[in-house]
C-alpha cells in the first residue's frame, strides 16, 4: 500500500535528519525512491549519516520496507508521507512541514476543513464553558476540530466534539504508542474511533519539552484558523497563536477577565491585534466562509413555577445551593431534586462543588 517514495521517505525519517538536511535531500533527488538506485544518489551521500545508504544495499528493498513498516502495522498506524496524495496541501505550505504524519483513525479527515482550538491546561470554568460551546457550534457547522490531547481545554475540545457527534483530530507531541498524558489514553481510543490521532514521530518516541512547541505548528498548520480560548503569558497556546500568524492562518482570540492569569496571554493578543477579538462562534464561521448549519428550532421547555423561580434567581450568575435555598424559600430536599431535573433538561449546570449556574 505504500509506494517506493513513501518507503524511501520513511527510511530517511528513521535516520534523524534535521529538517534543513531533509529538504535538501529531497530537492537533490528527483524522486525520493532514487535512494534505492545506486547511480542516482551519489550527491546526497554527504548529507546522510555514514553507512546509511550502504545499509540499503545490504538489506534490499523488501527488508527496508519491512523495517520501516513493522512497528506501524503492530500499532495499526498509517503513515502519510509528504509525497503521498493523502498529505494535506494546507500543511505543505508552512515553513517546515513534517515529512511524515503517523496517523491512527479516519485518514480522510486530513483533507477536511479544520479549526484549531487551543488553550491552557488549567482553565477556569469560563474557559471550559466557552470551549465546550464553541466546539459544539463549530463541529455542528461541519468543521473538524484540531487540538493537542492535553489536559484542560484540549480535553474539553475532544470530549465535546465527540459528544456533538463531530470529528476531531488530536496532534500528539510523542509517538502514537504511548499517549501523553496517560490519563487521556481512554479518550485517545475514542478519538481513534471517531477521529484521527496524528504525530510526526515514529511510535516509541517519548515526548520532549521542545516537541510540545513543535507539535503546535502542526495544529495551526493543519487548520484554516486557530481559536485561542484561554492562555497565560508565554504559554503553549500563545506559541500556537504565533505559529498561526506566521503560517498566515486566521487567528481568533477570546477576551477574558483582566484579573485572571489564564487570560493574560489572550488579552495581550487582542491588545496587539484587535482583529482577532472573538466573542461568537459565527464570527469564526463568517471569516472562514463556512455556512453554519441550519440551527434546529429549540423547543421551548415547559417549566413549572418553582423551576422558573430558580432559573430567575440564577440569571445574575452562579449561586451556591444554600443561597438558592434562601432566595426561593424552599427546603434542601425539594431544591436538590428540582435542580437535578433542571440539570437533566439542560437548563442548569452544576459548576463546581455546590454552585449552580444557567447553561451558557
Amino acid at each position: 500500500m505504500y509506494t517506493q517514495n513513501d518507503i524511501a521517505i520513511m527510511y530517511l525519517d528513521t535516520l534523524g535528519l534535521t529538517h534543513k538536511h531533509f529538504t535538501e535531500v529531497l530537492k537533490i533527488l528527483k524522486n525520493p525512491s532514487d535512494i534505492f538506485i545506486n547511480s542516482a544518489r551519489k550527491n546526497i551521500i554527504d548529507l546522510l549519516p555514514s553507512g546509511s545508504l550502504e545499509r540499503l544495499d545490504i538489506l534490499g528493498y523488501n527488508s527496508v520496507e519491512e523495517l520501516v513498516t513493522k512497528d506501524l502495522e503492530k500499532f495499526n498506524i498509517t503513515a502519510v508521507t509528504i509525497a503521498s496524495s493523502m498529505y494535506p496541501d494546507i500543511l505543505k505550505n508552512i515553513a517546515d512541514p513534517p515529512v511524515v504524519l503517523y496517523t491512527k483513525g479516519d485518514i480522510n479527515l486530513l483533507s477536511k476543513n479544520k479549526i484549531g482550538i487551543v488553550g491552557t491546561r488549567t482553565p477556569t470554568n469560563y474557559g471550559r464553558d466557552v470551549a465546550n460551546k464553541f466546539t459544539k457550534d463549530l463541529s455542528d457547522a461541519g468543521l473538524v476540530t484540531v487540538s493537542g490531547l492535553s489536559y484542560g481545554i484540549d480535553t474539553c475540545v475532544a470530549v465535546s466534539t465527540l459528544e456533538a457527534k463531530g470529528k476531531t483530530i488530536a496532534v500528539l507531541a510523542g509517538g502514537l504508542d504511548n499517549v501523553y498524558p496517560a490519563q487521556n489514553t481512554e479518550l485517545s481510543k475514542k478519538i481513534e474511533q471517531n477521529g484521527l490521532l496524528v504525530s510526526e514521530y515514529r511510535p516509541y518516541v517519548r515526548p520532549r519539552q521542545y516537541s510540545f512547541i513543535r507539535r503546535n505548528r502542526i495544529i495551526s498548520g493543519l487548520s484554516l484558523g486557530v481559536f485561542v480560548v484561554e492562555a497565560g503569558r508565554k504559554s503553549g497556546a500563545t506559541s500556537t497563536a504565533a505559529f498561526c500568524l506566521e503560517q498566515n492562518r486566521e487567528l481568533f482570540v477570546l477576551p477574558g477577565n483582566i484579573t485572571s492569569p489564564q487570560s493574560y496571554g489572550t488579552n495581550d493578543l487582542i491588545n496587539e491585534m484587535p482583529d482577532c477579538f472573538t466573542i461568537t462562534s459565527s464570527q469564526i464561521l463568517d471569516r472562514l466562509n463556512i455556512k453554519p448549519k441550519q440551527t434546529k428550532k429549540q423547543t421551548k421547555l415547559q417549566l413549572d413555577v418553582f423551576s422558573l423561580k430558580i432559573v430567575e434567581c440564577l440569571k445574575n450568575g452562579e449561586l451556591h445551593f444554600d443561597e438558592i435555598c434562601k432566595q426561593v424559600n424552599s427546603n434542601a430536599s425539594e431544591l436538590a431534586s428540582t435542580l437535578t431535573m433542571l440539570e437533566i433538561l439542560g437548563v442548569v449546570k452544576k459548576s463546581t462543588s455546590n454552585f449552580y449556574q444557567l447553561v451558557f
Partner: protein, 506 residues
C-alpha cells in the same frame, strides 16, 4: 484431695466452660499449672499464693497440681485466678463443697482483693446459654453484669468475702437487675450550630436514615469534621439487643466504662489516619476487636480518607459488604460484627483548593489524579452518597438564620427507620443500604416518569451500572423519609444529585 471448680473463658465473643481441677498430694512442696496456660495464667501461682495467705487462710505446703480442662484450648489472661484459689481451698477443705455451685471469674491481687476482668458481659451471656445460673464476679464488673436477666450474680471485693459467702457464713444478695434505658445524652455538636450547608445536612440525614455510607469532599476549613461530629446527634435510639452487642465488643476490647457497665449510645469512632490494618480490623496477640467492630451499630468516621494507607482502606471492603470481620491469628479465628455507617471526608486535591473560588490550587493534574486514585473503585462503590462541602461565606456565618436542630432531624430519621424495620421484618437486614439485588428489585420499583429521569440522567452524566443500584437505594430512603410508599420521580432526582466525585474532569 481433689476438687473441681467452674470458670469461663472467652474465644472471641463466645464463652466456653473451663474446669479448674486441683489435686493436692503428699510430697515435696510444688505447684504446677497444666492445660495450655499462657504466661498470665502461669503467673497466677504467685498471686494465688499471696492472696490466700493474706486472706488469713492456709496455702497447702504439699504438691499441688492445677489442671485447666479442656486441655487443648489455650487459656489466656488473669481471669482464672479466683477459680484456681477457690479450687485449692476446696481441695484443702477450707471451703465447703457448696462452692461447686458457682462459676468464678476474677483476677486476684496479692492482698486478696478481686480485680475487674475484660469481657464479663459476653462471658455471662454464653454461660447463661449453657445453663449456668450462679456466678461470682469482681465487684468492679457489677454494673456490666447487672443487665443480664435470669441469673444470680454475686459481686465480691475480696477472696475472704467469697470464702465466707460460699461457706454460708455471709449473707449476700445477688446483684439487682438494672433496667436498660436509652440515654439521651446531650451532644457537644448539634446541627443547629452549623450555619448553612443545607445540601450536606440533608445528605447526612438521608445517610443516617438508610444506613448509607457517605463521603464528603471539600477544602480545608469547610466544616467537614464538625458536620461529621454532628452525626451522633441524629442517630436513631439504640435497642437493648443492639446495646448488648456493642457492650460485648467493648467489654472484650477492655474499653468499657466500669461505672456505666453498658453502652447506652451508638458508638462514634474516629481512628487517626496513621492507624494500622490491625487497629482497624482487629487482631494482635489476643485478636482483640478493631475500630470497625467497636463502631458496630454506630459510626466509623475516617477524616481525610485518602491519607489512610491504601491497604487499610481496602480491608474495609469486606466488612462494608458483609457487616462481619473475621480475624484469624495463630491462636484461632474470631468473628466480630462490624456493621457501621462509614462517614468519610476528603480534600479534593493534596493542597485542598481544587475547584475553590477564592484560592488557587497548586497541584499538578498528575498529583490530583494520584490523590484521588487512593480511593479505589470498589471502595467508592460501597459509598452510596457523595457530597461536596464548601466554605461558608462570612455573611452566612454571622447570619442569625435559625438552623434546624438535630432533635427535629432525628425525629424524621426515627420515622424512616421504623418504616424500614417494618419492611425488613424477618430478614437479617435492618436498613435500605444493606439491600441485596433481589430486595432492590422488590422494594425499589420506579414509576415510568422516575424510570425516564434515571435513563436521561444516565445519558447526561455518563453514569456507571454500579451507580444505578446506589441511586435506587438512596431513592428508597428518600421516599421513606417523605413517608411515601412508592418511589416518586422527585425522589429519584434527588438521589441522582448525591452522585458527584465519581468523575472529576481535569
Amino acid at each position: 484431695m481433689l476438687s473441681k471448680i467452674y470458670s469461663f473463658g472467652l474465644n472471641g465473643l463466645n464463652g466456653y466452660k473451663i474446669d479448674v481441677e486441683v489435686d493436692i498430694n503428699m510430697g515435696l512442696p510444688a505447684y504446677d499449672v497444666v492445660g495450655l496456660p499462657d504466661t498470665a495464667v502461669k503467673e497466677s501461682k504467685e498471686r494465688v499464693r499471696s492472696a490466700i495467705k493474706n486472706s488469713l487462710l492456709k496455702f497447702p505446703t504439699n504438691r499441688i497440681t492445677v489442671n485447666l480442662a479442656p486441655a487443648n484450648t489455650k487459656k489466656e489472661g488473669p481471669s482464672f485466678d479466683l477459680a484456681i484459689a477457690i479450687s485449692i481451698l476446696s481441695a484443702s477443705e477450707q471451703v465447703k463443697a457448696t462452692s461447686k455451685n458457682y462459676v468464678y471469674v476474677g483476677e486476684l491481687g496479692l492482698d486478696g482483693s478481686i480485680k475487674a476482668v475484660r469481657g464479663i458481659l459476653p462471658l455471662l451471656i454464653s454461660a447463661r446459654e449453657k445453663g449456668y445460673t450462679k456466678f461470682i464476679v469482681p465487684n468492679a464488673n457489677q454494673k456490666e453484669a447487672s443487665y443480664i436477666t435470669g441469673i444470680s450474680v454475686y459481686a465480691m471485693d475480696t477472696l475472704a468475702e467469697v470464702v465466707s459467702f460460699v461457706n454460708g457464713e455471709l449473707n449476700k444478695e445477688p446483684v439487682k437487675n438494672n433496667v436498660w434505658k436509652v440515654e439521651h445524652s446531650s451532644f457537644t455538636e448539634d446541627f443547629s450550630r452549623v450555619k448553612g450547608q443545607q445540601a450536606v445536612k440533608r445528605a447526612m440525614e438521608i445517610a443516617v436514615s438508610g444506613g448509607h455510607n457517605i463521603l464528603m469532599a471539600g477544602p480545608p476549613g469547610a466544616g467537614k469534621t464538625m458536620l461529621a461530629r454532628c452525626v451522633p446527634s441524629i442517630l436513631p435510639d439504640l435497642t437493648f439487643d443492639e446495646a448488648l452487642e456493642i457492650t460485648k465488643i467493648h467489654s472484650i476490647a477492655g474499653v468499657l466504662d466500669p461505672d456505666k457497665g453498658v453502652i447506652t449510645s451508638r458508638p462514634f469512632r474516629s481512628p487517626h489516619h496513621t492507624a494500622t490494618n490491625v487497629a482497624l480490623t482487629g487482631g494482635g496477640k489476643d485478636a482483640k476487636p478493631g475500630e470497625i467492630s467497636l463502631a458496630h451499630n454506630g459510626v466509623l468516621f475516617l477524616d481525610e480518607m485518602p491519607e489512610y494507607s491504601r491497604s487499610c482502606l481496602e480491608t474495609l471492603r469486606q466488612p462494608l459488604e458483609d457487616g462481619i470481620i473475621t480475624v484469624s491469628r495463630a491462636s484461632g479465628s474470631y468473628e466480630y460484627p462490624a456493621n457501621f455507617i462509614l462517614v468519610a471526608s476528603m480534600n479534593p486535591c493534596p493542597c485542598g483548593n481544587y475547584g475553590s473560588r477564592e484560592l488557587s490550587c497548586s497541584c499538578t493534574p498528575a498529583q490530583i489524579s494520584k490523590y484521588l486514585k487512593k480511593l479505589s473503585g470498589p471502595l467508592l462503590d460501597r459509598i452510596d452518597i457523595k457530597v461536596d462541602v464548601d466554605r461558608v461565606s462570612f455573611v452566612s456565618l454571622r447570619g442569625e438564620a435559625n438552623e434546624e436542630s438535630s432533635f427535629n432531624v432525628k425525629q424524621r430519621v426515627d420515622a424512616a427507620r421504623k418504616i424500614q424495620a417494618e419492611r425488613f421484618k424477618g430478614t437479617n437486614i435492618y436498613c435500605n443500604a444493606k439491600m441485596n439485588s433481589k430486595q432492590i428489585k422488590e422494594y425499589c420499583k420506579l414509576d415510568p416518569l422516575g424510570e425516564q429521569i434515571l435513563q436521561q440522567a444516565f445519558d447526561k452524566f455518563s453514569m456507571s451500572a454500579r451507580g444505578y443500584t446506589r441511586i435506587l437505594k438512596v431513592a428508597r430512603t428518600i421516599a421513606d423519609l417523605a413517608g411515601e410508599k412508592d418511589i416518586l420521580a422527585s425522589h429519584v432526582a434527588e438521589a441522582i444529585s448525591y452522585r458527584n466525585i465519581d468523575k472529576i474532569q481535569l
